[in-house]
Symmetry: C2
Subunit: 135 residues, 2 copies
Amino acid sequence: MKINFRHEIGGEKLITAIAQDFKTNEILMVANMNKKALEETLKTKTAHYWSTSRKKIWLKGESSGHTQKVKEILTDCDLDAIVMKIEQTGGACHEGYGSCFFREINLNNNVDIDNLKEDDLKIIAKRLFNPDDIY
Amino acid sequence: MKINFRHEIGGEKLITAIAQDFKTNEILMVANMNKKALEETLKTKTAHYWSTSRKKIWLKGESSGHTQKVKEILTDCDLDAIVMKIEQTGGACHEGYGSCFFREINLNNNVDIDNLKEDDLKIIAKRLFNPDDIY
């Protein structure tokens, strides 16, 4: 069996990688890994991703210091996605939150996903740090 | 603000969609949605995905009956991924498990991700059903 880097984005073969808090099971972020990023993650037990926008390997926390220590890695049935159970230093989100998933869609509204209004999204977390202090 | 279908796979513009058990916070699966799949999900409160292999909208559970009732939807900072807190009927995985993430990589092994051996992966869940009975 082999890890299946089957999602091709911008010419790079990738898997989906989800970071989940190893204690609370909160989902902190989701990004992509190419083969090299997964190899670096396995070797260092610290999360590395492939940045589809910057088109380079990205050690999470390389500028902020907010690294992710990898405790466990799970793979899915078709081996094209992983869940990493991690210990997060600082916060996962560059906007200052513990998790990137800090907004909830109001399912009672008839939302237009191309034009989300203020009442359609609710911030459900507290900022842990001011991004201006870190980045 | 708008949902940002920025991941282009096989010519389709997509977001990443993670299904998480609304009670236990266990991650059940990850897949993709195009705009239509997200709109159907919002309209019906039942998870629809875009199948990148079959290149069509896919109502999760359409053949197995194992549908996903959507309780909450969170969006990430750059609006290109969502977490759905769901109530899963049956199991999420077509291999008979509650979660597609039923295997753990042995981090103590020096694994070759192109040639995973029996001892490199451990099944960490119990089958809920026999796939042959369902599919």
